[in-house]
């Protein structure tokens, strides 16, 4: 096994666009699930809207890249409103059912050949990088050190991703340490009690759904920035990967989603490299190379179960919370 290569790949995944995208999506989900108690099972749909909004904005509407990004965020906000207005008055479980279905509906709409000219159906969308790359202030060349060697495009994507992540994290932190966040956490605990204190619970939940949805859409955009938009990415299992990252870090924390996504992707990379290498070296004789690639997703599932059972508050969650988890 080539351990140097494996370590290099793993370290590099720390600031990969995928990690940043997951961190943003998990942060959006933290607003939904961790703080407001909204069981949103359609986070993949919010990410898809961000990514498709961005790509379609450039390809179909000829917008500059930043305006297309705003279009992606706006699409996600509208989606949150459409989902939230009929469902947020109902009990939490219904939101889960509706969001998981709505995310699938969205994905199938993007996949159908009817809108092939706009969405690219099964091929997805690509070749929208012109104005984004033209706006890159970094001169051509390869920069960095050790495992973090990227060309100017790679750095531009990462820098923007990190800026988006910092902005989102500061916003969420500010919101959640304010009285607004206190109301939201109160709603998570018992919305009738908060209603009895004169707070408009529905409006808080709707705002939270929009805020989290917009942040998740930003994750979708960062995911789409370097490469292409592929409808095969925004499937239900993406939702569960984001949940794994979120719960790993701590659902009701600001840095938990970031740490969780980082660990999730580093582990994914390590396993994705080690397992096939182990097969090649004959250490897992009962398995083929392709099976080894799939094994890591099985391990993700097991990890999600273990976290929820043994450490529901996540790595960064408050220790006291564990005692009182319902």
């Amino acid at each position: 096994m080539d351990w140097i290569q494996i370590l290099n790949n793993s370290a590099s995944s720390i600031i990969s666009p995928a990690t940043l995208a997951y961190a943003l999506a998990a942060l959006g989900l933290a607003v939904h699930f961790g703080y407001a108690g909204l069981l949103n099972m359609g986070i993949a749909g919010f990410m898809a809207l961000g990514a498709y909004g961005y790509a379609i904005g450039i390809l179909t509407f000829n917008l500059p890249w930043w305006a297309a990004a705003l279009l992606g965020l706006a699409a996600s906000a509208v989606f949150a409103l459409i989902l939230g207005i009929p469902t947020l008055r109902l009990r939490g479980d219904y939101l889960a059912i509706v969001t998981i279905a709505a995310a699938e509906v969205l994905r199938l709409l993007f996949l159908t050949t009817t809108f092939d000219e706009v969405t690219g159906s099964a091929d997805g969308l690509s070749g929208y990088h012109g104005s984004f790359r033209a706006s890159n202030p970094i001169p051509e060349g390869t920069y960095g050190f050790g495992p973090f060697m990227y060309n100017e495009i790679g750095w531009w994507v990462r820098i923007l991703g990190i800026i988006a992540l910092i902005l989102a994290a500061v916003t969420v932190w500010r919101l959640m340490s304010s009285p607004w966040g206190r109301v939201l956490k109160g709603i998570r605990e018992d919305e009738d009690a908060v209603r009895a204190l004169g707070k408009n619970v529905f409006s808080y939940k709707l705002t939270a759904l929009v805020v989290g949805g917009v942040i998740a859409a930003a994750g979708g955009i960062v995911y789409a920035l370097p490469s292409a938009v592929n409808p095969g990415v925004y499937v239900t299992s993406l939702t569960f990967f984001v949940y794994t990252a979120l719960l790993l870090g701590g659902a009701a924390t600001v840095f938990g989603p970031l740490v969780g996504s980082l660990i999730f992707w580093v582990l994914q990379t390590v396993l994705g490299n080690v397992l096939p290498a182990a097969v090649d070296a004959g250490l897992l004789p009962f398995m083929s190379n392709i099976q080894a690639q799939t094994l890591r997703f099985i391990l993700v599932g097991i990890a999600l179960m273990l976290i929820v059972i043994f450490r529901p508050q996540g790595i960064l969650g408050n220790k006291k919370e564990l005692t009182f988890v319902k």
Binding site: R182, K185, A193, A196
Partner: protein, 323 residues
């Protein structure tokens, strides 16, 4: 246990609340809530059917009645947590029928719940601060910039600490509400309600599941509310408590108001005794069912009557009634 508790100083009852003879739906000199023709059915069951009811201002009113009498349903209707099939009601002269719960609360009518709703994963202090009204920091855009709300937050915190001290919860202010005992949660819920500076406090079974020592302090707090100019309406099962603190008692049974009046008179009302305690009060069921002899009957019951009545008669009567 009970000998440790010093009996509270008897506080004067508020009197002169009603106009004319005390009867269900009697007019009050200064009503804070006026209910007209409120009906709520669940399928075939009429849970609440109140023709007219007035709650006196500045007094402690108890709402009593057997299980299933519709007390909590009436509470839910008045606070906007449930919608009636028919009827209207006013609070402080303003019609609030059909108004959503949070708007009702903003008008100054705050409630607690039968099953205490302490917000477990918030600290006691956060629970308290949540109760305060008109917070700038609870608006979305302002909340992002602490300089808008920091001063108000400090004022709210001062007030919260003051109330917590009064309720002897100040030592717990940094603990999660989930770590409090059942009785302390009741106290916290009441204290949190006070943060909104209400005119009317509605307590749904404030004494349920609270130990005797804490009951005493809860009662004192309820009496304090009246002294501070608030109106209290509470649901309770414990007759002793009701007699001790209520100025006015409303009795419900099967969804209707069956009696009203000051606590002493109301409890002598035969309709109340029948509704609350049921028929055959005088019988000792041990004797009726033949588990022991008439000589061993409970001295407060009618031993002879118990001995002559057959179980089947009572059962027949009960099934007649339920038809």
């Amino acid at each position: 246990m009970s000998s440790d508790i010093t009996p509270p100083v008897e506080r004067p009852k508020t009197t002169g609340l009603h106009v004319g003879e005390a009867a269900p739906g009697v007019a009050k000199t200064d009503p804070i809530i006026v209910v007209d023709g409120v009906r709520r059915t669940f399928g075939g069951l009429t849970a609440v059917n109140v023709d007219h009811l007035e709650i006196p201002r500045g007094a402690i009113t108890a709402l009593i009645g057997p299980n299933g009498a519709g007390k909590t349903t009436l509470f839910n209707l008045l606070t906007g947590f449930d919608r009636p099939d028919a009827g209207s009601w006013t609070f402080d002269g303003k019609s609030i029928s059909g108004m959503p719960a949070f708007k009702v609360a903003r008008l100054g009518q705050v409630r607690t719940f039968q099953l205490t709703k302490a917000l477990g994963l918030l600290t006691v202090l956060e629970n308290m601060k949540l109760g305060a009204k008109h917070q700038i920091g609870e608006r979305f855009w302002q909340s992002l910039f602490p300089f808008f709300w920091r001063r108000q937050e400090l004022e709210i915190e001062d007030r919260a600490v003051g109330i917590l001290k009064k309720f002897k919860l100040d030592a717990k202010s940094e603990d999660f509400a989930a770590s409090l005992s059942g009785g302390q949660r009741k106290l916290l819920e009441m204290a949190r309600a006070l943060m909104s500076e209400p005119q009317l406090v509605m307590l749904d079974e404030p004494m349920a599941g609270v130990n005797p020592a804490l009951t005493q302090s809860l009662l004192e707090h309820i009496l304090d509310l009246k002294d501070e100019g608030m109106t209290v309406l509470f649901v309770e099962h414990d007759m002793h408590m009701v007699r001790h603190i209520a100025d006015w008692v409303i009795v419900m049974a099967e969804g209707r108001v069956v009696a009203e009046g000051d606590p002493i008179t109301v409890m002598r009302n035969p309709a109340v005794i029948d509704a609350y305690l049921g028929a055959h009060q005088e019988l000792d069921l041990g004797v009726v069912t033949g588990r022991y002899e008439a000589e061993d009957a409970d001295p407060t019951t009618d031993a002879l009557a118990s001995d002559t009545v057959e179980v089947s008669d009572i059962e027949e009567e009960a099934s007649e009634e339920s038809k």
